[in-house]
Subunit: 804 residues, 2 copies
């Protein structure tokens, strides 16, 4: 019956493979060191006949499986490779398990429970909003106070020493004041919680995409992140506090919604019904939005961020709650900061990033080409920045592996920052009259009486204040040569800083670089057309900032909303959009956004938005993982224990055992459902065996499973006596009785859509008669990736490796 169609498939299939392979061969791309496709093809044609039964000794099980796994592992991946996926990352499970326990709970609790849950959700989102704002307020006020202290102290010594010729003193002081916080921050990150390094945005993105990044939403991470980011900014590094704020919001959300903390070993026994990946993800998405909202005072931008970066399946009520949390955050933070600045009633501090308000910015139609050019420059510079950062990260992966080396590296960059700043202040004579001073700590240096050094003004404040100065200072406040030198130096400083073992974001440095070159262009234009009123350098500083940031991160609509909200310049929306579109287009021609680059370098199996094109000739039977391990509907306890000990799989199809008199070597038996490793462990831990009927009756509830979420014990922590190993266990009430499955003849895009839209973790593949023949996991889908290189395209198949 199927002969004809199968033949056609195979024919089409092999011919396309050929054409792709030849196109790959044409391309002398150095990154295509490895051709896993052939390797894989030979693997998938292998005759599969691994089946675990009680009579298979555990030793042989281990050997069979590990030999199979080894074929997919490649020990040596060059540092900086982007063509691999790491097996160290597991998937989150967004597909609810509709087993009998869940139905039981629903039946018992009824609609009142639905209403209660709904209220609890709103309440949690309220708490998320408030707590995120509190953390943001703490970070902001600490930074404000400590930097004031630092720069007032420096100013004092500089002012003293200029006349006394002891400028080495403030320089050393500057070094010391940079070293101390950077040392604390770097040690915290390197030794206590490495996942707190960087901005945290890629990690949150991956989490929302469905990848479990270990420890990413733990309270310890939050603590390190919060202190670390304060250290970064005080340490004078070219890093911002905005990205980390987003990560903090996500952690807060994950913490509050679960009603317990592993770090503090405290279970409040509340919100237990939210203890599953699916619910937690929703809260984290709200937390990330709150974080954006706190960082930029941009509630709409926050919601758009969580939609753009996070949600695969958009849900109106979730978005609505997210919006609510964002708003609460902005509002609370506004109250805190307004009170701190002594203007409580005004509510004029909606976010951490205060870029100052732009009054109406007029622009004329003939400026549109200028906007396009600004965007193009931003795209080019952004692509260049990303490439340099990529190279530096490769270097780091190769040489800076030890923890103490990472700390040293951070200190070196801190020293470099101070040195560059000091050298610029020392050598550049850029004096402006006092009075219209844009800085809190004007320094005279070698300027005349009543003047101050404009260079020192750029360095003797937080980068954020510098951005504000560049946006809003009146025409002529900044010397062109100063700005030009500053752009170049700060560009390299920022490239070197991102990726250090410090908590730091790149929004502010990018904005600062961009606003500096933007202002440079603006002031050049103003000199070319001195009579033109609309050519305001501040406006071009804003456009440059947008272009640079857009060129680096390549976010689109959310970034537009964030910038519009942060500058309150809605009438300026169109120019911003033009600039951001151009920056993205130009940048995407050369490489990917910086977050994506870093995600790829760690091999995180993140799923893109769409399946690769022209992949309809790749079938589920080709991409699925096999051999797999299946369980019978009623299974021997000892067998389960052995199995969990020797394989690392997380999902096991439950099958009716195949009929012994009709051997089918390609199938594992009729598919009945899917059970997870975590569920099996809870069953074993609580001794829910068929021989224990009284236990079964009394206390068997879905709560047992929630109690352990999300960190289940390992199989070695569960003690099962020898007698218990002879018991049987009926898996049917606990397994997911009807997970989504896919026919072996389905295509890769079909599997991809299912994974992406529904947030799956396991997708069993069945044959024509509904017998399991394999299982598709996130990595099997994510490994197919389209590569584009200067207009050419092809299909790439990533390597799967156990290297981080």
């Amino acid at each position: 019956m199927t002969d004809m169609s199968t033949d056609v498939n195979v024919m089409i299939n092999s011919s396309i493979n050929d054409s792709i392979d030849s196109s790959v061969n044409d391309e002398n791309d150095t990154e295509k060191l490895l051709k896993p496709r052939n390797n894989f093809a030979s693997y998938s044609n292998e005759n599969i006949n691994v089946r675990f039964r009680q009579n298979v000794s555990s030793q042989s099980v281990v050997e069979t499986l590990s030999s199979n796994l080894r074929r997919l592992n490649v020990e040596e991946i060059p540092p900086g490779a982007t063509n691999f996926l790491s097996t160290n990352y597991e998937s989150l499970d967004y597909d609810p398990c509709e087993n009998h326990l869940l139905q039981d709970e629903e039946r018992k609790k009824g609609y009142k429970f639905v209403v209660k849950k709904n209220f609890a959700r709103w309440f949690i989102f309220l708490l998320i909003g408030i707590c995120t704002a509190l953390i943001a307020g703490f970070v902001d006020i600490s930074i404000e106070e400590l930097t004031s202290l630092k720069y007032s102290c420096l100013k004092f010594y500089v002012d003293q020493c200029v006349t006394k010729h002891c400028l080495w003193l403030p320089y050393l002081l500057w070094l010391a004041l940079n070293f101390a916080p950077v040392l604390i921050g770097a040690i915290l990150v390197a030794y206590v919680e490495p996942v707190a390094a960087g901005s945290g945005i890629p990690q949150v993105k991956c989490y929302l995409n469905g990848v479990k990044i270990p420890r990413v939403v733990r309270i310890k991470t939050l603590a390190v992140k919060t202190i670390g980011v304060i250290c970064t900014v005080i340490g004078g590094l070219a890093g911002g506090k905005e990205g980390p704020m987003i990560h903090s919001g996500a952690v807060v959300a994950a913490g509050i919604s679960q009603g317990k903390s592993t770090t503090f070993k405290k279970d409040f026994k509340i919100f237990q019904y939210f203890r599953e990946d699916h619910e937690k993800r929703d809260f984290v998405s709200g937390g990330a939005a709150s974080g954006v909202s706190a960082a930029f005072g941009a509630p709409i931008g926050g919601v758009l961020f969580s939609i753009e970066e996070g949600t695969s399946f958009f849900n109106q009520s979730l978005t609505w709650r997210t919006f609510f949390a964002s708003m609460i955050t902005t509002f609370t933070l506004n109250i805190i900061l307004s009170a701190y600045h002594g203007r409580l009633g005004d509510l004029s501090y909606p976010g951490l990033l205060n870029l100052g308000k732009f009054e109406t910015i007029p622009y004329q139609i003939y400026e549109i080409p200028l906007f396009v050019i600004m965007g193009t420059i931003g795209g080019l510079l952004g692509a260049c920045w990303n490439h340099l950062n990529y190279k530096i990260t490769c270097f780091r992966l190769k040489y800076i592996k030890r923890k103490w080396l990472k700390v040293i590296e951070a200190l070196v960059i801190a020293a470099l920052s101070a040195t560059i700043g000091f050298t610029m202040i020392y050598f550049l004579h850029d004096c402006k009259p006092l009075g219209q001073d844009p800085t809190k700590f004007p320094i005279q240096m070698y300027c005349n009486e009543g003047e101050y050094s404009a260079v020192a003004a750029l360095w003797f404040q937080t980068p954020e204040s510098s951005v504000r100065s560049l946006f809003h200072d009146p025409k002529g406040s900044h010397n062109d040569i100063t700005l030009a030198i500053f752009v170049v130096l700060y560009f390299f400083l920022a490239v070197a800083t991102f990726g250090l073992s410090m908590s730091s974001g790149l929004f502010i440095p990018s904005l600062l670089i961009g606003s500096a070159w933007g202002r440079l262009i603006g002031s050049g234009l103003a000199k070319l057309f001195p009579n033109c009123v609309v050519l305001n350098p501040g406006k071009y500083a804003l456009l440059g900032a947008a272009a640079q940031l857009g060129g680096v991160v390549r976010m689109t609509i959310s970034l537009t909303a964030i910038l519009i909200e942060a500058t309150q310049g809605i009438s300026f929306g169109l120019p911003l959009i033009i600039v951001l579109i151009m920056a993205k287009w130009v940048g995407d021609f050369f490489n990917e956004g910086i977050y994506d680059i870093h995600t790829q370098m760690t091999g995180i199996p993140i799923l893109p938005w769409e399946a690769p094109p022209l992949s309809n000739n790749i079938y589920a039977s080709e991409i699925m993982s096999h051999p797999i391990v299946t369980l019978n509907t009623v299974e021997n306890v000892g067998h389960i224990v052995e199995l969990l000990k020797c394989v690392t799989f997380n999902g096991f199809p439950v099958v009716d055992p195949p009929n012994s008199d009709e051997p089918e070597i390609h199938s594992y038996g009729r598919f009945r459902g899917l059970i997870l490793r975590s569920q099996l462990i809870v069953l074993l831990q609580n001794k829910i065996f068929n021989k224990n009927p009284e236990y079964w009756e009394k206390s068997l509830s879905i709560k047992l499973f929630r109690k352990e979420y999300p960190r289940y014990p390992t199989i070695d922590q569960v003690t099962i006596s020898e007698e218990e190993k002879t018991y049987m266990i009926d898996l049917r009430p606990f397994m997911n009785p009807s997970p989504y499955t896919l026919q072996h003849s389905a295509t890769l895009p079909r599997a991809f859509r299912l994974f992406r839209a529904l947030g799956l973790r396991h997708l069993p593949v069945v044959n024509d008669t509904n017998e399991v023949i394999g299982i598709i996991t996130r990595k099997d889908v994510a490994r197919f990736r389209i590569w584009k290189h200067r207009g050419r395209m092809g299909l790439d198949e990533l390597l799967i490796t156990n290297k981080i």
Copy 2:
């Protein structure tokens, strides 16, 4: 094997059914006239044994099926019922059919085709942006010119007649000037294209949700809509031009992307590769966003609208293109309108709805409770508005069925509008000094020299200008009593107008009502606290407008973005958000948004965001449609023809015929794929039978199917000779070989998620051995709906009927 688990299922299942039924009985809700659940239950337990084979005569086929269908049809649904789904609406098919023809095309065209398609997409979005802006510009300029003419003429006669005591003359003239355009608009809508009635937002929403509303995206509809909306505004009805703009954008998008027009019988043979539901939907989503962008000058709001109302599966690159189109629209429209107003360089007219720019609006923390109260009032008034409109619509469904009656009705409302306006002007003496006049046509009426009638000012301009006046007029421009009377009268006028046989939106009327009562509250507060500077009536007018609109339409985040963008008042975001959240919460307590109410009254099977809660006890086997009709993989042509003639189904599972020696009454044979009615018709039309191998070889391509999209011929238009009827046809290269399927034991939420996230049309249900036992369609999923009534909840099962 399955016995135990099935027993458990049945037990749980029946017990929950009981509890739900009893809770429904408790509720003496008049709307629960019908209990389809019992009816349905008896139906689904029926013994199913309908199988179509060649030897079944077509007569008996018709009888069997129609007798089954009739059981689901209820002839008499009371007008205004909301508990039914109409069978008149089909689903769109967003799931691509990955058959051999598609693979063939991919193989032939390669990656160049992918790049070309991508460029074409961007180009189409550019065109959509420009064309939507052109239409918006045409509508706006026509309305501007014609209303100027109308009111200047009226002003002339009023000014003349006040002294000469001939005020009946301008009154009659007003009537006539209202009648003429309303007559044209009503006749166009009633006789030419009824789907152009109303705002079109619900229709676009349904289209994006996946329901095929007949003729909704046709060029004829666009023409009627455009002229109709001009007539509405000129006719002085309480309707706006914003909603129709969104619909227009959607039609433009659908038209351009298909490269052909059925109305003009012209096929440009371009963009043929976009001729499928999935691609078309993406363009329509962009068009709707462009429409919002044109209507409100709100590109971000537009994108949010298309996300909030449209997309189920969010896609970053689609959103990015949508954003591009929105921006192009705003920009083009800005150029057009700026040029029209003679200020080309300024670019200060981003959208049709020009609410005037708010300078910074200060607010104090103690005003927050006031914002909450404003939102609550908006929610209450909105719910009240919706309820009244619902009642009026019921009345219309019952009594105003004839086309001429609809025209008369529109004329009556037009007369009423003029009469109310004239009466108010005549009786209310609200005189303000000239000079600070907010209106283009000030009328003196009985006021003193140098004064004008503030009442006439409200009526003698478009509603949009009135909103602007209420937002921006200085304190004391409006008399409280005038406003109070105006609110009441306009409230009822707007209620009566929405749902007329005219193209008209409800944004502007709602904003006008809201701004009037908002200003009333603001002016009251200003009188209570005369020394308080921040209590600006214009600010409260804006909040009132937001509250009223939010209370009526219940949109959330997109509405916030739209209002912020339209008023350029970003610093005022927080108060707007508070007001909109309150309005939605309060309103949702009483009833649904007006669009949802109208959607329900027409029985459109729209899918909500989430499956009803506590429905995990409802299984796929309960909700699926059966009996169904299946086809064999190689099928007789005559049989297919007979089948298509006598059943209305659109999707047919293709099966291996069941083994004759093991009769299985509950299955239709092993599932092999799914073929659509439209595909079968194209196959028959092109005589692609197994006997025609030369045809098969030469010209068989996916283009054949695209040529006919979207309006395929009916089976009666295809002529098949008697000899041809004996031929066989191999369906395997054409069918979808691996559509998503569901196990019979899967739950309703699982089916729902699949439908919602992937935009399915048919979902075959299979048993444990992958044999088809039924099919789930959109209506089967949409019929389960949660009802909430003052805090109580329950599960409702809608009736399916053939009534519109």
